[in-house]
Symmetry: C2
């Protein structure tokens, strides 16, 4: 393209004149010719920071679930734990795994600082960069722009560290942190039913962006990738359009693409002692990795569903595979959605909840009490090779220790679960999720100090 | 899986007890043990039909845009024109192209009838099938279930016919309709910048499902694919998460993934004479294809964006490529978003709106007055081979005649538009979109009678 950007242009109309969403902020009149940035903030960092408070009011804590999916909710980025874990599951997801392409510890740390700043801004509904989007015609904008005018939309951005950050595929300790690797942070074992695509698996870093508006989630990942250019490369990314979990008792239970309610018996934010027991890594859990206290582990597994086959099963078979009814989500042993399943109740041939039903296989009572906080999403990624829809469930779960809370249950499921007949795992990854960043800190700071 | 579906189960709790969304319908109490279907309708077709009216009240016409994105809006499936064209563009899309795998005209017609019935039901927020979802444990459910409990969400389902329906790749007139092929319905020519993937192009039939909730759009396509099993196979499908157009003056202008407002100067529903002139095929337009009167043509083109390259361009260059400002969307010649661009205004070197700026290249004044109704969506489909996000714009446009309103403009754009430096077209298709189905008719009925 020819270089024309220096040329003079006539004055523009006041940018917010057409935009009712800006008016409710009662911002001061913009000077003629001023440019507008995301959220209608005129000018750079200072003004932006001043207004930001308006958006977080009433939703300041990731730990105080609002249960609303109104676009105006926002969650504080900083806190004891990262947001996006016990935060009421938002409706949409964009998840990305990155490989670190630099060998420089300083560059990696600088990236984590830049990501922290950008994430904090974006979760407030501000542009990724400190300047105005349209600050300087001769520079690339410091925000890509597609979320201008959209509210924070409940955006949370959650960062995780993969095993490769501590020791790469060649065994190298690139960043001098190998001795601080959490003992539980290793590649997941191969499970029966795993048909992993390397291009959908692993990664040195991950970012989970959840929001009630997909454009806001995509905008977040895209800007973090842009900021990381030269330091990290996107290894894989996954969009999810429908949450398959509830992480708060205030939320109604959504449905997965098998058509069943999903998230009924999840660990939920309000169950503080269950969250402490099953989700957060506690001080002392791993003496080599005290930096992870207050954090968690994130399991990411891409389950492709054979939906065309599933759709041809009888209702009875579908319900037997899950162990709950399709309509209400009640256990086959009776009652309502939240009634405890009775695995001992006998039917006309065998237990009324079959032993290979998913909820029987994975239930805590059959797994030494182990639980997990599930936070997965439905996906459809076009068409598969056979002319079916490439649909499935992008399974995300947060656990305090994957060795006891995920691996044995997944292994048992892969072997014994009736659902597996309709599932293939095509992507897999495990990340250690550091605690929340405190004031002035970058995410994961304790790992590097 | 073992066959257990016949076995006796204890009584279930009344299915609607947990579901506030059902209560506002004030439906009669359900009998103990009754099963719930989408929208909480108990039992089969008759009861369903009786209640359906409640959902369309106040939103009866696709031609009366509501402008709301509340999940409760719904649009009538039947009418003079198909819904989903001038209907206010919903936020989410699932689009699918199908190949017809049968050679039987009767089977094709039966499918169109079954699709019409299912589409009418689903756009009302009802399950795809006439029976209850949980009607019969020994049959596959006649709805896949993932939209149970979700409102109509403004769903529209729009059907189109590709050239292959009239004559297949071997030149065969499989369905005895070759002589009724509209003259304008042929594969689009190859344009510079086209790098077409056959697996994302063409198709005998298409279905555009738009809704404010992606789960509802996905549910619609999936159930139509399920119903078509054995008669059609999905050739390709595309999800879109963010609309890039406004089709009603009541809507605010959204943004595409270049970060610019998109849809400003679109043909809009309220401009009745422009819609008649540019969108609807009129009686007499094509004597061989009178069945298409009241219909339209749909162009579908998948534009991959080089967003990583775009993001590194200066703001000035980005704005010069589009011809409008990034903040407000005003033309570079000044004013506000809706000010007419002045292509003659001189800048310091050349016109202030560069001649190769997108809006200059495609503007009606530079194309003999030709316009189109754009209705595209943003997409991100994971990662591309180079570690970037596979992002772009799934361009959809409705025109009265693609030979004058799309092909010459696309050809000019491919040659002369500054935007093309950042674009590649990887999918392409053209469809004739029949008029709306009248009472008792199936979609496209006039083509088969
Ligand atoms: C496509 C894959 C999967 C589908 C469709 C699926 C579906 C479901 C459904 C419908 C329920 C019942 C409702 C609820 O309590 O949320 C459920 C529960 C559960 N699932 Fe899965 N699931 C999948 C994968 C997994 C995996 C990989 C694990 C872990 C290894 C897992 C662990 C659980 C657990 C722990 C529960 C709760 C059981 C209880 O406490 O009652 N699921 N799942
Ligand atoms: C990725 C591809 C494309 C992008 C990012 C894009 C972007 C835009 C933008 C930002 C505008 C200005 C706002 C508006 O009036 O809506 C616009 C206008 C327009 N575009 Fe595109 N466009 C794309 C592809 C196309 C194609 C393929 C065509 C047709 C061949 C087209 C035809 C038009 C027309 C007719 C207008 C309105 C011009 C006017 O009347 O002022 N666009 N586009």
């Amino acid at each position: 393209m020819q270089q024309r950007s220096g040329q003079q242009r006539p004055d523009q109309q006041r940018p917010d004149q057409q935009r009712p969403d800006l008016q409710r902020l009662e911002q001061p009149p913009a000077p003629r010719g001023a440019r507008v940035s995301r959220r209608g903030l005129i000018g750079g960092g200072a003004a932006a920071a001043g207004l930001a408070g308006a958006f977080v009011a009433g939703h300041a804590s990731a730990q105080s679930p609002s249960g609303t999916s109104a676009g105006t909710s926002s969650y504080a980025f900083r806190g004891a734990h990262q947001a996006g874990i016990v935060t009421p599951a938002q409706d949409r997801l964009h998840f990305a795994a990155f490989d670190v392409t630099t060998g420089s510890r300083a560059q990696l740390v600088a990236l984590l600082r830049a990501w922290t700043d950008a994430a904090e801004r974006m979760t407030r509904g501000l542009p990724a960069g400190g300047g105005a989007v349209e600050g300087a015609p001769d520079l690339p904008p410091d925000d890509t722009g597609e979320a201008i005018g959209l509210p924070a939309s409940g955006l949370t951005i959650t960062f995780g560290f993969g095993p490769g950050l501590f020791r790469d595929a060649h065994g190298r300790d690139r960043f001098g942190i190998a001795d601080r690797r959490p003992a539980a942070l290793a590649q997941l074992p191969h499970f029966p039913g795993d048909v992993l695509d390397e291009a959908r698996s692993y990664g040195d870093l991950c970012v989970q962006a959840c929001a009630d508006d997909p454009q806001v989630a995509v905008h977040a990942i895209r800007n973090l990738a842009r900021i990381g250019f030269g330091t990290v490369a996107v290894r894989w990314s996954q969009l999810g359009f429908g949450r398959t979990s509830t992480t708060s008792t205030s939320q109604s239970t959504p449905r997965n693409l098998f058509g069943f309610k999903d998230g009924t018996h999840n660990v939920k934010a309000e169950q503080a002692s269950a969250v402490d027991e099953h989700v957060w890594v506690a001080a002392g859990d791993d003496p080599a990795a005290e930096w992870l206290a207050g954090g968690s582990y994130l399991v990411a597994r891409r389950f492709d569903m054979a939906i065309e086959v599933w759709d041809r099963q009888t209702l009875g078979d579908q319900e037997d595979s899950i162990g709950r009814t399709k309509g209400t989500g009640a256990p086959l042993s009776g009652g309502g959605e939240f009634t405890r399943p009775d695995f001992t109740m006998a039917g006309s041939h065998g237990p009324v909840i079959p032993e290979d039903a998913h909820v029987s296989v994975v239930h805590p009572d059959h797994n030494g009490g182990a639980r997990m906080l599930r936070r997965g999403y439905n996906f459809v990624d076009g068409t598969d090779a056979l002319g079916g829809l490439n649909a499935g469930l992008f399974f995300l779960a947060y656990v305090r220790d994957p060795r006891t809370q995920f691996i044995p249950i997944q292994a048992k499921m892969a072997k014994a679960d009736a659902l597996m007949e309709y599932l293939q795992v095509t992507g897999s990854a495990l990340f250690a999720v550091p605690p929340g960043a405190g004031a002035g800190e970058h995410v994961g700071q304790a790992l590097f100090t």
